[in-house]
């Protein structure tokens, strides 16, 4: 379902332009508001819908196979750490869902450079960052060369 933008809600902030993975949300030069310039390259990923502070972006199912009359709306609330969905079927039935999106505060990830500087020995080992501790097993598993043989198994 490609996205479209409501004229009276969009204020032209450009958040959708900034986030769209397909580069199809652009600012219309005449109206100074966002527009989907290439609906047939829309994956309906909802990245723009979720990013829009004005809730100005909605979707209408692809004309090739989606009959009119449906709607799938979403509200993503970063502070609450949830995303809510409201589905409306063509025949009017509705369904609602809420899911968590994150368990920690935004921006709280410890940077890779904040960990203790790894030793030269560690750099030459097979272990990746935080291993073996982060594996939750005592030791990184390894094969020996004699375990691999050419041919049909």
């Amino acid at each position: 379902m490609p996205t479209f933008v409501y004229m009276t809600k969009c204020d032209g902030c450009g958040y959708c332009v900034d986030v769209c993975p397909s580069d199809i949300m652009h600012i219309d030069e005449t109206y100074r508001r966002a527009v989907n310039i290439e609906p047939n390259f829309c994956w309906e990923c909802y990245s723009c819908v979720k990013a829009c502070p004005q809730h100005a972006i909605d979707v209408r199912g692809y004309a090739d196979f989606a009959p009119l009359g449906h709607s799938v709306r979403t509200l993503r609330e970063e502070e609450k750490g949830t995303i809510s969905w409201k589905l409306k079927f063509r025949d009017g039935r509705e369904k609602n869902f809420v899911s968590p999106i994150r368990t920690t505060p935004w921006g709280s990830i410890k940077s890779a450079s904040e960990y203790e500087r790894p030793s030269v020995d560690a750099l030459k080992s097979q272990e990746l960052a935080h291993e073996p501790d982060a594996l939750n097993v005592p030791k990184l598993p390894a094969l020996t060369r004699d375990k691999l043989k050419p041919g049909v198994p």
């Binding site: 490609p2 986030v19 993975p21 397909s22 580069d23 290439e38 390259f41 829309c42 994956w43 309906e44 990923c45 909802y46 199912g61 692809y62 004309a63 090739d64 989606a66 009959p67 009119l68 009359g69 449906h70 709607s71 799938v72 995303i83 969905w85 079927f89 063509r90 039935r93 869902f97 899911s99 968590p100 999106i101 994150r102 368990t103 920690t104 505060p105 921006g107 990830i109 940077s111 890779a112 450079s113 500087r117 097979q126 990746l128 960052a129 982060a134 594996l135 939750n136 097993v137 598993p141 390894a142 094969l143 060369r145 375990k147 691999l148 043989k149 050419p150 041919g151 049909v152 198994p153």
Partner: protein, 614 residues
Amino acid sequence: MALFSRRKTHFVDSDILVIGGGMAGCGATYESRYWGRDLKIVCVEKANIERSGAVAQGLYAINCYMGMQWNENQPEDHVRYARNDLMGLVREDLGYDIARHVDSTVHKFEEWGLPIMRDPETGRYQREGKWQIMIHGESYKPIVAEAARKAATEVYNRIMVTHLLMDSKKPNRVAGAVGFNVRTGDFYVFRAKAVIVSAGGASHIFKPRSVGEGMGRTWYAPWSSASAYALPILAGAKMMQMENRIVLTRFKDGYGPVGAYFLHLKTYTQNAYGEEYETRWFDKLRETIGDYVDHHPVPTCLRNHAFLEETKAGRGPIRMVTKEAFQDPHKETVGWENFLGMTIGQAVVWASQNIDPKYINPELTTSEPYVMGSHATCSGAWSSGPSDYAPDEYQWGYNRMMTIDGLFGAGDTIGGTAHKFSSGSFTEGRIAAKAAVNYVLDMGNDRPEVSEAEYEGLKKAVYQPLENYAVGRNEIVGGTVSPSYLLPIHGLQRLEKIMDEYVGGIGAGYTTNEPMLMRGLELLGMLKEDLAHIGAEDLHQLQRTWELKHRVLASESVTHHTLFRTETRWPGYYYRADHPKLDDQDWHCFTLSQYDRATDKWTMEKAPVYHIVD
């Protein structure tokens, strides 16, 4: 002076350049910083890493997790699983390497804030299947992107990388990459000691089922434009298994995933008359592929095969039986949230067609083929393996280094490692990055040199489509038809038609043969010539032009590989009608290709498959 080559050029120097900021690229960026504290790490992405790559809209499961801490699986088990699913042919050294590290990646994701569901009785991660764990992954990509942003010296969003740069003083060594900013139009020359390609695989090389407004609703993201392959191919890196395209059995039109439905909700498929149909096709299959059909679990391609045969026999549509499972409110919620978390479009299709799976068993379909390296398929670059156990033939340098010095890869870029999915791709990025840090430190003060002639030549080529349009547009009154140029969409539609008809797309029933492939190569050759005449109206269309060029090069590779392997190894993915049998005598091996940019020639060879001894 050409019209558009006066664009400003920016030079960006780094120790490690990561191309593509999806799951693999974010993993590479994070790990580069961990081991290379004093290095300059640059990540370049054609969209915005906040929501880029195949995980842009989220995921509802992590499909590659061993659970070693609970002794659920060991890395060897995953190797056997991937080997079985790919009909015997995977790089087991690389697959083992991902499997032994992937748990630490997933544990880090949870620490960072990714909500992973827990089994209320055992307290362990909630399993969807043997390898899959269930997550609330709407923000999977933004969380991972946060870690990458903090690790990178700089992230450059909205820059489409078009070519790699080679060292002018040492042969076969990478020196960086060039690209253009799709917002400002500026030209970028990235000079680096090591380059990690972690770009996307290929959607839209075969004609999709929907060719109207819905053509973007492919299973694999429409922005996965084969840069993962075109960049190394153009530089002369060896590629492997490019014939190993994947076809997905999914819910109709939205391509909503079926994994949770089969594994967790215990739904099952049946034909239009309520019959089980898979096993009826397996006996006959034994005649062409032998006992691979008796393996457990049944390989993905073979289940596709049964679906295709049953449909051809006139007993479609095939449906997923959901009505029983969806009577359980918990399962109903999981069924819907599964889509809302990763394939929202499927929920829209069902809402629009009044399909409530509690009362209606929804239709399934098979997708057009895609070329990628992280799902039940393993096309990609031929790379060096881990130094502690990889056989000599798989080891010529640093881990995940391609056949070009300093050129590393991860995710969909690297071939042979099926079933790595999101967590495995991130993990492979980490593996490649640690090796790249070692490579850079071992280089000392040596630094590749980029010749001005090379990047100036590429700069002219990069903007040529804008000039083609500006000049040609004056010839005509208006509209899209010009005698001088083709638009990017014209080229894309020609490519999709050629691949569909000659290389085994849906229109050809996934079937091809040598004469068809030869004709396909002729037509692809003419399309390649026509690519010099693509007209781009603006910077967005310039991006589409370069995506098209990457797709065409990858398609040519796919066609050569398909021609080379004279057997049908993966019925259900594609069929060589002139070689309908699986042939372990001659083809229990990998296919490798190498492209020579100077002569426009492809060279094919075989490489041995090593198995872990049971």
